[in-house]
Amino acid sequence: MHGYRYIEGTATLQVDRQRCVGCGLCTEVCPHRIFALSADGLEVRDLDLCMECGACARNCPVQALTVSPGVGCAAALLTAWTNRLLRRKVVGGCC
């Protein structure tokens, strides 16, 4: 197995190659190894492997990466939806 792919084209990760300074921190922290840094700049090898954990964007020194981060957990989302439906304040999450 090399990586579990999730649903095609849903990940919100975006790269601004103009901003990237090539520090390589994103390639280090990504738990799914989706970045490749070469002389041509930063490349996303496989977007469907992105789980939107946000580690890359958080540690990017120049905001070249944007992603809407969070935990991919149905139970957490279901709780959030129920709370919104019942107009309750949200406390806690999933794990």
């Binding site: 990940a11 919100t12 939107e52 958080r58 020194p61 794990c95």
Partner: protein, 324 residues
């Protein structure tokens, strides 16, 4: 501090893994020593969930190091980083509170790579002078990482989700079902008792038991079979994977629970097993290390309406069958 675990730790691990003491299995935050560390020794940072702490210390039998245990409210590294308790602020505060700078004369911290979701390395450096190094994902790779002068290779940095890693999650999934199962049980018996004579206790018990068995088969399909078969089930959406693993369980139910049932009842049972399985499989997204929130939302908007429709159809068939 010991680098081996005791019988007491073993039973603690069992308790946490089945969910009994999962939310209270903690270590007191602070600075700990393994081996006989000196001012040059590495400082390894971790969460105060006891299983995280045990995973780390068991790998350090040949290492002299300091362990800085943060207060992550007893939550593991990755979840804590995602929830904001394994955070930049918590690292800075702990470094200052436990006076790490007076214990070592270097200014390096080694954090688990999965903490990068919650920790901005450059802000730690700016606030307390310590340089954050993101170490390997698995504690087992730490000795090699430290020997390689804090250089992690690709294999150390890629998250895995192997069969044993998936299997170990099953008990807690089942444990968490105890409460919803009780509620379902009550409904199952009420719905099973409805008939031409308004309500029959005999039918409630007899038919209720069969519906309960179908529910348990659905749980097998969605919370046991589907996690085990995860990479081999086609489709990317978990609710669909659950339909497939549920299909296997439903076929079993067709033959196992076939004791003179009418066709509507058989269909209801078949549908119910798959629905339960699909729902639980969808819930398993929260236990994997690769599902994105956008993807989960995408599949829930498709899966939940189907599950609701299937549940309604199940109820119509099941409650209606005594009248047919």
């Amino acid at each position: 501090m010991a680098t081996t675990t005791s019988t007491h730790d073993f039973w603690g691990t069992v308790g946490a893994r089945i969910g009994l003491i999962r939310n209270t299995y903690r270590v007191v935050p602070g600075l700990y020593a393994v081996g006989s560390p000196g001012p040059e020794s590495s400082v390894l940072v971790t969460a105060n969930y006891k299983l995280s702490f045990d995973a780390l210390r068991q790998q350090l039998s040949a290492v002299d190091a300091w362990i800085l245990v943060l207060d992550t409210r007893g939550i593991n590294v990755w979840c804590a980083a995602g929830k904001g308790t394994f955070s930049t602020e918590e690292v800075i505060q702990s470094v200052n509170r436990y006076r790490v700078s007076e214990v070592v004369n270097h200014r390096d911290l080694v954090l688990p790579q999965l903490a990068a979701t919650g920790v901005t390395a450059r802000e730690v450096k700016g606030a307390c002078g310590f340089q954050v190094f993101f170490g390997p994902i698995r504690a087992a790779d730490l000795p090699a990482y430290l020997q390689q002068n804090k250089h992690g290779d690709e294999a150390m940095r890629e998250v895995t989700f192997t069969l044993p890693e998936r299997a170990v999650l099953i008990p807690v999934e089942l444990f968490l079902l105890a409460k919803p199962l009780l509620v379902t049980l009550a409904l199952v018996f009420v719905l099973s008792g409805i008939g031409p004579s308004l309500f029959s206790l005999n039918a409630a018990l007899h038919r209720g038991l069969i519906l309960l068995e179908a529910t348990l088969l659905g749980i097998m399909g969605g919370a046991v079979l589907m996690p085990l078969l995860l990479p081999w089930l086609p489709c990317r959406q978990f609710w669909l994977k659950g339909v497939l693993s549920g299909l296997a369980a439903a076929v079993v139910s067709w033959f196992l629970l076939d004791t003179g049932r009418s066709l509507p009842e058989q269909l209801a049972l078949f549908l119910w097993v798959m629905t339960v399985s699909s729902y639980l499989a969808m819930n398993f997204t929260g236990s994997t290390p690769f599902t994105s929130p956008s993807g989960v939302e995408y599949e829930m908007r498709r899966g939940i309406p189907m599950q609701i429709a299937a549940t309604c159809l199940t109820i119509v068939l099941w409650v209606g069958s005594p009248f047919f």
